[in-house]
Symmetry: C4
């Protein structure tokens, strides 16, 4: 059997990442995860409009950084693709993006309370997570990030951070690699839940800036990352939730050369 | 094999809707879901007295809008049927109704705190959810909505809204379609949980009326609805919880022409 | 195959009740459930020292109302048996008893906040649940109810109520039947969780005494009870957690006529 | 088949203990559990860097009390081994150690609120749990306990207690036996969750010192311990999560005589 191509590998890993983040309770029926194309930095990979925990490699398509599908005729696409494209344009250092509506993160998005690292693993969110409010630039909207200018506004609010909190909406996180993104998404969600619970019983004493700057990057070194990855993938496997084998990663020829219909799915 | 009839289809879909809402944590042993008859607007479909997550197509019977069973001899029925019948009478635009006691919604019913959309998906509950208190019209009762006048009082409180909060009891939601009702029920429950959690850490900043009016209807368009429906049904399927195949949807002939015994089950 | 005897039936039902209450999240590794002997009101049935969710009919033994085992040589028994025996002595109307440490009930036992019915199903706890504090009569102890005088003190605090809250320890509930006890145990636990959650966001408006007196008994009528019982047993069955078939209900002859060793297990 | 050696038994039990504590919700992808060598008090047993719920007997290695592996060439090890070694050096009475980041314990580590026994089973944590803050002795660090002086500082803070709370990090618990440690870890976690929930609705009334001193040791006597152990192991077994059979406890010969590479995994 021939070796899978880098693209096949990337599509399998992206399906796996979607399923891990959903299985760990961060993503539900909505939200999405993307990765920059493994060989063409001017493109990214993202699933068609489908819930993260159901995504197979065959559901994953290529997009330009303007978030136009390269080939996806008759396929329904996520409406908020520009979140991904605009961030890849603004952040050459970023190679993976996740947008979600975690019930642990939303209370911060709804109250404007600052999310801060409260335990060592939570420092992977960075030293701070800025807020973005669609109301500031665009007034009353349907709140989805669909227009290029909306995506650029969000990317601008993210700036050089790893995570941006979207008022009354959710969060968007970025990583230099897909696995780093998964780790950051899962543990920033855990940090939010623990910060919320801590605030219920007393005054929180968060990490110092020095501690956050020392331990955040440490958690993203190969050993803790490998340990967490084995843990998450084994949990999926025990549940029979792994994506289909890499070899099924190819899309039907009928779709490969087709043109796209832009989707509006949330 | 012959095509299933519209009625068989409706009964299968209603069994599925019951199971989805239960599986997503909104319904437990009690509560019920109904749909208007697919070909006779003067009737609705509702299960016999059985817990939502156990309902099969064969458990579903026809009722007049006075909530009298068309044919259900010797079958125990829900005591609160008038919730459904009185709403179908008052709201020609409504084709599906759900009554539940969600642990996320009840804190609002018990404190009288207003439930408001706090994130985009929560806007499917509408711009507001009025309260109804059985005490106002009827004083001390067993709190169940069993008498026609109780059902009419509740329907009046619902008015033109999509959701009514019942003090010390639960909630009743309506939809123009069954799938819209399921989406509204699941995400109003999610909104309540997130609003409650947000109130624990700060002052909530809900959606503006303009945002709610723009994003609520948007979430109920075909693409997000289809995506959520695939997600919920796949989760049921993975758990082996789908209803039995449509062909088992028929009721035993012995019951088909029989008369009913009015049930008082909660 | 011969019909199972009333005693075999009672032991199967008691194993089932233990498993239901555990599966619904009220009982964990500790706590216990008993039922009065089906033909001899001067005896009750209780498992040997084993976690509720593991109990089989063969684990269930007979005890006198002084909580002495009729025949259980070399078997480790629960240390807190007197909770059951002393209540059966004090309350001829009571035929089933459950003692547990539910995480939803304990916050009331630890703060002394009054548990009140906040929704219709919660009214099965009664109009009030008194407190008992082992410290009042006995000062500092190991907190377990092991001595007859401790059991009598608890039974006295229960009085004519259906539930007593034990400070820093847990709760004890009673029922006129085993199924009524299971319903009361599951829904008083649900009421506690919902009351706790309601107190986090506002001032609770509980049921009026009139409402509680009307709806509490209503919930315990055959139809809601049958509906809940089918729900709970089906959930166990789907999980492969039903007790072994009635015919395995008999204890090995080697134990049947043996004498007991009083156990001290918590 | 030959009897398994005491070492094989110890390695199987340690794998089982890791899985129980993870399955009961205390440990997640990180954290670790060790036991003193069954025949050489100058050594302890600890897994290679792997998530607790995945650990097999073959993953468990021997370490000196200086936390140097006896033989583990090319194997990635936990970075925080000194937590274990330094405590075994300081506490001859201690034969098992667990370090975790429980979401129920962390709120106390983050706010500095004192953890106290609030119900009888919670008394297994002891009459008090001191705090340790890496900042006090070492200022800003990556917060992991990796250097011998960091381990000694933590062991000093633990003193003669059974549990130490690590600010912004987690907790470390000790036991005279592995099973005692598991019981203490699970029920101190339960006590923390119940204390947190109790603080949300009122002023907590904890155990008196006398009660804690009487009931804590009582919970650790053979009967409650055996009952809990059967419960936890049966739950693992029902989930197909037991470690592989003892006979697979041996490590591949290729690793047995090799030298170690010190690991830095969190």
């Amino acid at each position: 059997m021939p070796m899978p191509s880098p693209l096949d590998e990337a599509r399998y890993e992206l399906a796996l990442a979607n399923r891990i983040i959903a299985h760990e309770g961060v993503l539900d029926g909505f939200g999405h995860v993307s990765v920059r194309h493994p060989t063409d930095p001017g493109r990214y990979l993202l699933a068609r409009s489908r819930s993260p925990e159901l995504i197979e490699p065959a559901d994953i398509y290529e997009f330009t950084l303007d978030s136009e599908p390269v080939a996806a005729k008759g396929v329904t696409l996520y409406g908020e693709r520009v979140i991904h494209g605009c961030i890849y344009q603004a952040r050459p250092d970023v190679n993976a993006v996740c947008h979600h509506h975690s019930p642990s993160i939303l209370p911060f998005c709804i109250t404007g309370v600052e999310l801060v690292p409260v335990f060592h693993l939570g420092a992977v969110l960075g030293t701070a997570a800025p807020f973005w409010d669609s109301r500031d630039d665009f007034g009353d909207t349907n709140m989805l990030v669909i227009k290029p200018e909306e995506g650029r506004s969000l990317a601008k609010a993210l700036g050089s951070h790893w995570m941006v909190l979207m008022r009354r909406h959710g969060a968007t996180l970025v990583g230099t690699t897909l696995r780093e993104l998964v780790f950051r998404t899962v543990y920033s969600h855990a940090n939010a839940e623990i910060q919320l619970r801590s605030m219920l019983i007393g005054k929180i004493g968060p990490l110092s800036r020095g501690e956050a700057e020392l331990t955040g990057p440490y958690q993203l070194t190969p050993r803790p990352m490998a340990r967490a990855w084995e843990y998450w993938t084994t949990r999926l496997k025990k549940n029979g939730e792994l994506p289909r084998a890499r070899r099924t990663g190819g899309r039907p020829a009928t779709l490969r050369t087709a043109k796209s219909r832009s989707g509006q799915g949330a």
